[in-house]
């Protein structure tokens, strides 16, 4: 690997400067992505390895990030499990038949990955070839809880009350669904590693909607299964947005790194996690709308506070579509130019 900063940071090794990448870096803030999006619909982009490869490489070639993350979507997993969804323009994911009962859960399958998600593995192989070991490639999946949120709610939500109501009123059905998603996700991520990804990240985007006790019951125990199954074949990064209250548990899970959102200060994140695990984050995505000198100042301060080692510079959630490319570039450059005085 020509640039192995990201993998070294995941191992906790001493580095010259932290590696940097941005969640959703292969996405709408890039003009070239928007051009492709106008030509090909969402499913075509995901399922055509040439397109997924081209999109994955955009931020590597154009912004110079230290890791690539395969262009895909967390909802390809439920799709393979016989829970179809559509992408409604201006709305986002839309499930015509959300899961509402044990009967619905019984119709959900744990698929053969090769039969249903082979296109992802083709995209990984093609991307690895094109990357030519310039930077590592990350594969990702949604957490079982986050996938359940969409499959029950049927669409995005501010609070995912229907998903929560399903868990609280039909816990048996919820746990059966969560276990099916977990089994599929483990098989899926193992195939990704076989196909060539250098690390995997689990996104628990909606874990922060739950109380600590409910988080353990409906989210964390399934993420732990994924970490257990993957940690010996690839480094695992767990990112739970709003899950500050579970970071102590996450720190001893066997994950190589934990994502941190911007509501947690670097000092609090280090304290909650015991100071010994690699942390990734946590620039507020909206802060990329600040003037460029302010972005540079805040990014440098962020590294000062996390420390340059056991640290991966990133945003605290996905980059927003309306971020000017030069602002994202300023963020990445500030990390790459970091020198502790």
């Amino acid at each position: 690997m020509k640039n192995d900063l990201f993998l070294r940071a995941l191992k906790g090794e001493t580095v010259e400067r932290p590696p940097v990448w941005m969640m959703r870096q292969a996405g709408r803030f890039l003009p070239d992505f928007r051009t492709l999006r106008d030509k090909y619909d969402f499913f075509t982009r995901c399922q055509t390895p040439e397109l997924a490869t081209e999109i994955t490489l955009m931020p590597v070639n154009q912004i110079g990030v230290d890791a690539a993350i395969l262009f895909s979507d967390i909802l390809v997993v439920p799709q393979a499990m016989n829970i179809p969804f559509e992408m409604k323009p201006g709305v986002g994911p839309w499930l015509p038949n959300p899961v509402k009962s044990m009967q619905d859960v019984n119709k959900v399958i744990v698929p053969e990955i090769g039969d249903t998600l082979g296109y992802v593995m083709d995209a990984i192989k093609m991307t690895k070839h094109e990357l030519d070991d310039r930077v590592p490639l990350i594969g990702f999946a949604g957490s079982p809880w986050t996938i359940l949120c969409y499959t029950v709610e049927g669409h995005g939500s501010k609070t995912f009350d229907q998903a929560k109501g399903f868990c609280f009123s039909q816990p048996e059905a919820a746990h059966l669904l969560l276990q099916k998603i977990t089994d599929t996700t483990i098989a899926y991520l193992k195939e990704k590693v076989k196909a060539g990804v250098n690390a995997v990240q689990v996104f628990d985007s909606w874990g922060g909607m739950l109380s600590p006790a409910d988080y353990h019951e409906f989210s964390w125990q399934y993420i732990q299964q994924i970490v257990d199954a993957l940690k010996d074949i690839a480094p695992v990064i767990v990112f739970g947005k709003g899950c500050w209250f579970a970071m102590d548990k996450m720190a001893t899970s066997g994950a190589s790194a934990l994502g941190v959102d911007w509501t947690v200060t670097p000092e609090t994140a280090r304290k909650l996690t015991g100071g010994n695990i690699t942390l990734q984050g946590n620039f507020d995505p909206s802060r990329l709308l600040s003037p460029i000198p302010e972005i540079e100042r805040l990014a440098t301060e962020m590294i000062d506070r996390f420390g340059k080692d056991k640290y991966i510079a990133n945003l605290g959630h996905g980059i927003l579509p309306n971020i000017p490319v030069e602002n994202a570039q300023a963020f990445v450059n500030a990390v790459k130019n970091y020198k502790k005085n």
Copy 2:
């Protein structure tokens, strides 16, 4: 006051059992409210003292809560400030002319409360008369930051990125707007106290969208001004959803009580706030979809963990429209029947 449990808990006095009320208790989960809603539009309900009084009393008469909270909306404040809004069915608040620039902020006025919000004071006087000192009456306002969120974004949002972008790219305009909202809110809450409310609550529903540093700059310093201006004339409750990271600061602000959401365990909430201030919360609103025996068990456990003193039982956010009345009733009854073994 016949039932002064709520006021005694705010003073930190020893009580037989904690008082209980529910955020948004005068709202859509009540069938009688829905009937009124079908007859009168949102503005008619807010601006007609007889209707506001009738709605405010519903949960007192029907559920037996220990405090009433005046039926109104946080957006009546920006409305009085020359920022009109509509209520779009199925969408929520909608501002035809969101604030986007310093020029827009300059058009925002700090109004005379009597001229613009006199109908709220009329509703308070009528409600106090009807309550006849059975339980105390709470008046409320949104935090300046939360009001800014709506006035800039123009509608509800998952992340309020436009509001944040406005603050980060035009901080001078943002601070001018926040100060105007603060000045109006202080005058408004003082009038409410004069009209008869026994306590006030400030809702910072969107404070948790900000990093700790940005929270201090764009939200907390304005809430502190409100607490400073009100605390000598009425007890002030501050509720910052998702603001666990600022609870230490809040605890020494002069507020009488702090709201807590369900992502913070009772033990953590006590620890973060130093163990000496009254706390209010924090039942997950979605947990009212659990079977009734589970609701009773969880409510009792919540009181055990917070302790019966310096504590006001409540939800961790507003009650959801789809909660069965008997489930809400079970929650309230569980608190009223609380006896520590």
